[in-house]
Structure formats: structure tokens, C-alpha cells
């Protein structure tokens, strides 16, 4: 084990800003990206469902 305490862990030998600045941003974009992809998928399905419903409705109503 490298760290004697939690504060030592977050301090990272004085390099906390750099280490956590790297990992925080990595975490942020790697959570945001799949969420955006999922939203795009759901939008595409909604769009397809709309088109599908329109196809069944009588044309001029």
C-alpha cells in the first residue's frame, strides 16, 4: 500500500492537481460520450417510430 491516509492519497505527493486534473476530465468525457450516443439512439428510434406511424395513417385526414 502506497498511502498512509486518505489525505495523502489525494495530495499525491504535491502533484494532486495534475493527477486528479487528468483523471477528472477523463472521467467526465468518458461518461458524457456514451450518454450522448444513447440519446442519439433514442432520438433515432423516436424518429423512426414517428415515420412508421405516419405510414399507417390515411394520407389526407
Amino acid at each position: 500500500m502506497n498511502w498512509g491516509s486518505a489525505s495523502e492519497f489525494f495530495h499525491m505527493g504535491g502533484k494532486g492537481l495534475f493527477v486528479w486534473g487528468s483523471y477528472a476530465v477523463s472521467m467526465l468525457v468518458m461518461v458524457a460520450e456514451p450518454l450522448l450516443a444513447r440519446r442519439r439512439h433514442q432520438q433515432a428510434l423516436r424518429q423512426a417510430a414517428l415515420f412508421n406511424d405516419e405510414g399507417r395513417k390515411p394520407r389526407f385526414s
Partner: protein
């Protein structure tokens, strides 16, 4: 022109023969179905390996003798940089296949890769800056490795902008493929930049020909994180490819059937 029947015949023969399954997978409907259960699997692998990799990287691997704790950025920096280069080649490959054989799924996959590749290129640069500051004393330097990686990010962004700017789907796929293929020359330049030029960036951590220049536990952590990043890339690329498939195939019968099924998992990922 000597045998006009040759081309359609070979295509038909390949379809009838043993490669039938391969072409089945290449059909959008099959791709959509198979990736539907591959995506959760990829997420399990990605999250599991990331936890293991970060545990080894932060709690098992020792402090670096010369760089202190800031070296721990390596566990995200190196996998991200590898992924950004690898994904570009994979994107160029599928874009090329889509262009050459007019394969629908190949072009969709190429498009789906670009944002994930751009994300990894951005992370490689960002974490590199946060590693450069405590190590070199500067966030950025116009050095060969850094500059070529920045160009990689611009190539990804250029590809995304180009394919989105052209409305005609086939033309857009073709223009994108051309950009992707021409731009792939940048990848070996990035890889060898630390050998070809005198640069501030350190040499390759791991090479095919020499023993790794790092402690075993550090290497383990980095490789675990690399597997996690691969699984992450598969998961997000499949998710985006599924979305693009629905966008493009929305007028086809199978999508109509899919979205008309009430509460049949149509709204899932």
C-alpha cells in the same frame, strides 16, 4: 470488359458459399441485433478492467523514482494515446472498405468511430499537458509528438465536419473515406516521431523489440487500463453505430417492426 459476367458472379458465389455468415453480420439488421447484446458485455469488461487497472495503478504500483507521483497519469495517458492512433487506422480501414465495396455497415462503423477517436486524442493531449507541466515545466511545447497528435485530433474533427456537411449519404461517405485514408499517413509519423526527431517527449514505453522500461506492476496497471479502453471504445462505437443504423434505415421494414413493438425493449440503449 473481357468477361462482363465475372463481377456479379463472384459476388453471388461468395454470398452462397462459406462466407454467407460474414455477409449476414454485415447486414444492418443483423449488426443491430448482435451489437444489442455485445454493448452491455463491453461495458462490463470496460468497467471491470478499469477498476482493476486503477487499483493496481494507484495502490499496488510504486512511486516513480524520478517523476514522483505525477507519473500515475500514465495509466490513462498511454492507453488514450494508443487508442487515438489505433482507432484512426480502424476508421480509415472501414471507411475504405465502405467506399471500395459500397458496404453500408462499413461506412456506418467508420462514422461511429470518429467521435470516440477524437475523444481519445483530446484525452491524450489533455492528460499530456497535465503531465508535462510538473515534468517539463510547461503545459505545451511545439514538439514533434505533441504537434502530430494535435493534427490527429484535427483530422478527426475534419472528418466529422466533412461527413456532416455533405447531405448526399454516399458522397459524404466517400469524401470521408478519402480524408480518412489520406490522413492515416499521420499515424506512423506520430508513432515514430520520438525516434525521428529530437523531442522532449520520452521514447516508447513499450516496444516490440525491447523489454518494457518500467516496473512490472506499472506495466500491469497500464495493460489493464488498455483493455478497459478497448472495451469502452467497442461499447461506444457500437452504440453510435446502432443509432446511425436506425437513422439511415428508418424507412426499412425491419426498423418499422422494431419501433412498432410495444414495450419490447425498443427504447433500450
Amino acid at each position: 470488359m473481357t468477361s462482363p459476367s465475372a463481377t456479379p458472379n463472384t459476388a453471388a458465389a461468395a454470398g452462397k458459399g462459406g462466407r454467407l455468415r460474414f455477409f449476414n453480420f454485415a447486414a444492418p439488421m443483423r449488426f443491430y441485433a448482435i451489437t444489442g447484446w455485445l454493448v452491455p458485455l463491453c461495458w462490463v469488461v470496460a468497467i471491470g478492467f478499469a477498476i482493476a487497472g486503477l487499483y493496481v495503478g494507484f495502490f499496488v504500483a510504486p512511486t516513480d523514482a524520478t517523476q514522483g507521483e505525477s507519473y500515475r497519469i500514465i495509466y490513462i495517458h498511454v492507453p488514450a494515446a494508443w487508442m487515438s492512433m489505433m482507432l484512426y487506422l480502424v476508421m480509415a480501414f472501414w471507411a475504405g472498405i465502405g467506399w471500395a465495396f459500397n458496404a453500408r455497415m462499413a461506412s456506418i462503423v467508420a462514422r461511429a468511430i470518429a467521435p470516440t477517436g477524437a475523444m481519445f486524442a483530446f484525452l491524450a493531449l489533455w492528460t499530456g499537458a497535465f503531465w508535462g507541466k510538473p515534468t517539463w515545466g510547461t503545459w505545451w511545447v511545439w514538439d514533434a509528438r505533441l504537434t502530430t497528435t494535435l493534427i490527429l485530433l484535427f483530422l478527426y474533427l475534419g472528418y466529422i465536419a466533412l461527413v456532416n456537411a455533405i447531405d448526399d449519404q454516399r458522397r459524404s461517405d466517400q469524401a470521408g473515406a478519402l480524408l480518412a485514408l489520406v490522413g492515416s499517413i499521420n499515424v506512423p509519423i506520430i508513432y515514430f516521431s520520438v525516434q525521428w526527431w529530437n523531442t522532449l517527449h520520452q521514447g516508447a514505453t513499450i516496444s516490440m523489440t525491447a523489454a518494457p522500461k518500467m516496473a512490472n506492476t506499472m506495466l500491469t496497471g497500464m495493460l489493464l487500463m488498455t483493455v478497459a479502453c478497448w472495451a469502452y471504445a467497442f461499447a461506444t462505437v457500437f452504440m453510435r453505430a446502432r443509432a446511425i443504423t436506425i437513422e439511415r434505415e428508418s424507412r426499412n421494414a425491419w426498423v418499422g417492426k422494431l419501433v412498432s413493438q410495444p414495450a419490447q425493449g425498443g427504447q433500450k440503449t
